[in-house]
Amino acid sequence: MSDRGHDHSHDEEERGIALRVKALERVLIAKGAVNADALDQFVDAYETKIGPRNGAMVVARAWTDPAYQKRLLEDGVAAIGEFGFSGIEGDHLRVIENTDETHNVVVCTLCSCYPWPVLGLPPVWYKSPPYRSRIVREPRAVLAEFGVELPESKNIRVWDSTADLRYMILPQRPDGTEDLEEEALADLVTRDGMIGTALV
């Protein structure tokens, strides 16, 4: 019974917010503050075009081109700009390199800062309170929950994103991929690998 009651009120709340958003959009369109086609295009872009494939291309280039890798680590914004990737949440981007000694992982403890131009919008878990609080307190245990078991000898560094600076991780190139070309390498790179909650 109580479950049913909860579901019921949740549904009504969602109908309420959906209705308010619809009303807000209609009023803003009527005033010329936004237009429906532009809204459709933004939704489409973030649903289908701006995603971790962008970041994977950047990583694959860095793996195959030492000069690009150097530029990427020195000035992330300019280096991703070479691919034409830029925009909101991308204008203060720093790329951090995983090494044999140190594994890096990214969080935004205050909200959901995330490098949109290279990774798209963040997954639900990245925005969840448990991840945001626990990855800082017990990174090794949290990484284990993601299936990343690191030797005790490996340092873990947690990077807390802010409005001023967002991070992307440059994973280590897997062994045995010396013969692969850039495109095939990009296929190996995962979103979580560039957040640091997976190995590549």
Binding site: E12, E13, E14, R15, G16, I17, A18, L19, R20, V21, K22, A23, L24, E25, R26, V27, L28, K31, A33, V34, N35, A38, L39, D40, F42, V43, Y46, E47, I88, E89, L110, C111, S112, C113, G120, L121, P123, V124, W125, K127, S128, P129, P130, Y131, R134, E138, V142, E145, F146, A163
Partner: protein, 111 residues
Amino acid sequence: MNTRKIPLPDLPAIPLQNNEPVFREPWEARIFAIVVSLHDQGAFKWEVFQKLLIDEISRTESTGDVRDYYENWFAAAEKLIHSLDILQPGEVDAEVAALRPDDRTVILSKR
């Protein structure tokens, strides 16, 4: 003999899911796009919205008011739009009433 660490109480699990949709409901996509579009036109600096979003998240989390992410985003967007002086007071409420004249959900939930 016992090297187990004392367990931390009530350690919340991280909600792991793969292949989740970018937006779970159409309204999430619309309110996202409204904010991005206003920014794209230069209506405000991104940091302004980010601050409103952080305030909304920290306020609701500190009071235990569990909200979905885009509910916080919507609340921050309403405050942002209010600060931009685009709308007159009551305009959205009037549009809500016009869209659903027979809908009492919103009115009842205010009680």
